[in-house]
């Protein structure tokens, strides 16, 4: 099954995971690239996106698996034809055959940007660094059985913190499968444990995916 590496940026970040699936299903059709369909009462085009992205989060490393029906089309041509059928903000970077098994996808590098409209509070970077150096960081987690507490520290492989202008940028590598840490929880941790450092706004971006050996995942 071929795989597409694509990015979701700009206003496209407001599309939901299901919206994005629909967008690709139509884009393949518009590009004249018919997809195979699932069997069953209500056949659906075979496309699947590896890790559903939360609404509002940017990404430059999304992975889409698909299965074309009919004649072979070269990967670079699929890429070009898809890009001419997509919308602003969704761009296929590369299409390739024989991607790694999704179950080997283990880590995600993401950028969490905390914006302070009145400038970064004195010593914020230091204090946030110290926070993520703690042994435990408990956060509320919504589950089927109500709200439980979860320690997020074991799910954070590394975090680098930089202050720049009115922003504090947290460059983090986190677990993305079994268990999964949503990067939004990183800023949630700041707001919970350092409430005076609660940013005016937080932005999130997925940068790269890695396998269990911390090599780039494709």
């Amino acid at each position: 099954m071929p795989r597409a590496l694509f990015e979701k940026t700009g206003n496209a970040v407001w599309m939901s995971h299901l919206d994005l699936m629909r967008l690709f299903q139509r884009a393949f059709k518009r590009a004249g690239l018919p997809l195979t369909h699932t069997q069953g009462f209500n056949p659906r085009p075979s496309v699947s996106i590896a890790l559903p992205l939360s609404v509002g989060v940017e990404s430059q490393c999304e992975l889409l698996d698909f299965d074309l029906d009919g004649a072979q089309v070269p990967c670079n041509e699929i890429c070009d034809r898809l890009n001419s059928a997509l919308v602003a903000g969704v761009r296929v970077r590369e299409v390739y055959e024989n991607g790694s098994k999704i179950k080997n996808l283990a880590f995600l590098r993401c950028m969490v940007t905390l914006e302070y409209d009145n400038g970064v509070p004195e010593g914020a970077g230091e204090r946030i660094r110290a926070l993520f150096a703690s042994d435990r960081l408990l956060l509320d987690k919504k589950s089927k059985n109500g709200i439980t507490e979860q320690d997020i520290i074991p799910m954070i492989r590394s975090v680098e913190i930089k202050e720049e202008g009115r922003e504090v940028a947290l460059d983090a590598v986190v677990c993305c499968q079994n268990p999964t840490l949503n990067p939004m929880q990183i800023s949630a941790a700041v707001s919970r444990y350092l409430p005076e450092l609660t940013p005016d706004f937080a932005k999130f971006r997925r940068i790269e995916t890695y396998d269990t050996n911390e090599n780039v995942f494709r």
Binding site: A27, P34, V87
Partner: protein, 611 residues
């Protein structure tokens, strides 16, 4: 897009509906644009983007050189709260610029219950509500759509109305505005000129006077405005603009599919139906043009579903030719072809079976009334036999799901007619027992009753609406006669339909009521989440307007009606004749069996009525 909107978006439901940027959205460089139109749909994005009329006119306007038409929808409550909290004015999707910066603000009005949204959207846009408060050529507000056929409740707020089909008149309006803007005209001068375009109604050019009993006394045209306002139509649909490059929403909408209009007008004369009369005469579209447009729109959009739409698709003469061509194309390309509003009487089993090979959709009937007598009164030429035969066919073809729609409160309705609904439903159940191929799945019969709302430009435009308590009594009577577990019965609450009845036949005295209700928070009335009847009741009380005057009173046959100056083609004489036939329980055969002389053919110059 402003930073502020970006910060609000994560806090609201379905943010993608506020950002624009969809496939096929039209962007222009504002430097090359002379006239900017904010095309407002007075409901949410999901509803508005499903509207075919809006798609057509969006394309028509954007085809014009120097004109940029952008879309605006009513925000959902959470977004409205955020906008008000941050003092953020309503914006258009394409440029993300505030609506108040636009030259023209256009509304398409399809349903009376969005009147509050129109005023609320103007308010959110920080544009003065009343026409008289908007001086100068900027922010000219105009409106079209079926509600423009009785636009009086909005007369104070809309500068002018465009009557009928908009493909030709809209460019005429905008070209005139272009000229006015270049020439530095005043608003008054522009309104004078625009009122001379056939099909344009400038309400401020008409004075309404009332009798002591509250009925209308006279309507006096001023400033040389025409006495009669005749709606515009497109005669040749094959040559008319059709948007084959449609905007594909990036988020799910109500009708998330391609849509193809197969003809306009209706040969059936269901006496309660506004569209059936006000959309006449019947004009055809050729099957080969439709096939070409279907393939073009499907190829361009990548949609996996297409629907053939019209008021009564089985009356489309070339339905066989069209579906014979489309079905193989759809099968090959894995596209679901849906053909709604097929009639039970000529709903061929053949077509039903053919469509089934793609995907099985539901079976819906709208007998509207429970007894043949009452169906004759409303001229719904659908017999019990036809319903049951079609059901038998469907059940033996594997269908297990039927929806039946009725109205309560129709003229001359008695308890016998109400119980006739229950009888009919039991006959459907009995038919299923006799014909179903797979009884394990069981049968679901969804029955829904609506509260009859008399509409202008129909033979029932003079009728009373029954009292809400009487309506509820009839609902309960019916409910008490449903015993089977297969039946799911829903009935509309009376409040909304009562308000709809007031607005549908309302006059200018309703303007302040709408304004008051909106000021007190009325909005999104078509949505259960937001409809607040109490706000409306308070507004009526505050403005001293009696709802009963427009509902249970009924209108006299010799009474001057607020919408009398508007000519939709069908004559008042014909409507009156149809009303009297209704009271004699006489049906009027459909137009193909013989012209009933409605008068709408007078609107045609180049082609014949295709009824």
């Amino acid at each position: 897009m402003t930073e502020l909107i970006q910060r609000i978006l994560p806090t609201v439901q379905k943010p993608a509906r506020y950002t624009g940027g969809e496939f096929n959205e039209v962007k222009k460089d504002s430097k090359d644009v002379r006239v900017r139109v904010a095309f407002c749909f007075p409901d949410t994005y999901e509803i508005g983007m499903s509207n075919v009329g809006m798609r057509i006119l969006y394309g028509v306007m954007n085809q014009m050189d120097g004109v940029w038409c952008e879309r605006v929808f009513a925000p959902w409550g959470d977004m409205e709260d955020a906008m008000r909290q941050h003092d953020l004015p309503l914006w258009a999707l394409e440029s993300q610029e505030p609506v108040q910066n636009f030259d023209m603000i256009a509304f398409t009005i399809g349903y009376e219950m969005c009147y509050s949204n129109i005023l609320n959207m103007l308010n959110l846009a920080k544009v003065p509500l009343r026409s008289s408060e908007r001086r100068g050529l900027k922010n000219i507000v105009f409106a079209g759509g079926v509600c423009a056929f009785n636009p009086e409740p909005l007369a104070e707020y809309i500068d002018f109305f465009s009557l009928g089909e908009g493909e030709e008149i809209t460019p005429e309006i905008i070209s005139l505005y272009d000229k006015a803007k270049a020439g530095g005209w005043s608003k008054e001068q522009f309104l004078l000129e625009v009122s001379q375009i056939p099909g344009i109604y400038v309400p401020s050019f008409y004075r309404h006077e009332y009798n002591e009993d509250g009925t209308l006394k006279t309507i006096i045209p001023l400033n040389g405005a025409p006495e009669t306002l005749t709606k515009r139509i497109i005669e040749n649909l094959d040559e008319a603009y059709w948007p084959t490059k449609m905007i594909i929403p990036s988020t799910e909408i109500v009708h998330d599919r391609a849509n193809l209009e197969v003809f306009r007008g209706c040969i059936r004369g269901c006496r309660f139906c506004q569209a059936g009369f006000s959309c006449r005469p019947v004009r055809r579209k050729s099957a080969d043009v439709l096939y070409r447009q279907a393939v073009e729109t499907l190829t361009d959009s990548g949609n996996n579903e297409i629907t053939l739409s019209s008021l009564s698709t089985s009356d489309y003469r070339e339905l066989k030719e069209l579906t014979d061509a489309l079905i193989p194309y759809c099968e090959e390309n894995k596209i679901n072809l849906s053909v709604p509003s097929l009639r039970a009487d000529n709903f061929s089993r053949e077509l039903m079976e053919k469509l089934q090979t793609v995907r099985k959709s539901g079976l819906t009937f709208a007998p509207e009334a429970g007894t043949q007598r009452l169906r004759d009164v409303i001229n719904k030429n659908l017999t019990e036999d036809e319903i049951l035969t079609t059901c038998a066919n469907a059940f033996s073809g594997g269908w297990n799901n039927v929806k039946l729609y009725f109205m309560l409160g129709l003229p001359t309705e008695t308890d016998e007619d109400v119980l006739g609904i229950a009888d009919l439903v039991y006959k459907v159940i009995k038919t299923w027992k006799e014909h179903a191929v797979n009884k394990k799945r069981g049968l679901r019969v969804h029955v829904a009753t609506a509260y009859f709302v008399p509409k202008p430009h129909t033979p029932f435009q003079w009728e009373k609406q029954i009292d809400p308590s009487e309506y509820l009594r009839r609902c309960k009577l019916l409910k008490d006669h449903f015993y089977s577990k297969s039946i799911e019965y829903n009935y509309h609450t009376p409040d909304l339909s009562r308000l709809e009845a007031v607005m549908a036949r309302g006059d200018r005295r309703l303007g302040p009521v709408i304004e008051t209700a909106v000021r007190n928070g009325a909005k999104l009335d078509g949505w259960d989440e937001y409809f607040r009847y109490d706000l409306w009741q308070d507004a009526f009380r505050e403005c001293g307007v009696d709802m009963d005057f427009y509902t249970v009173r009924g209108f006299g046959e010799d009474e001057l009606l607020a919408w009398d100056p508007i000519n939709v083609g069908v004559t008042k004489k014909f409507l009156l004749r149809e009303r009297h036939r209704a009271y004699e329980w006489k049906v009027t055969p459909d137009c193909r069996q013989g012209c009933a002389g409605c008068g709408a053919n007078c609107l045609l110059k180049e082609v014949q009525c295709d009824a």
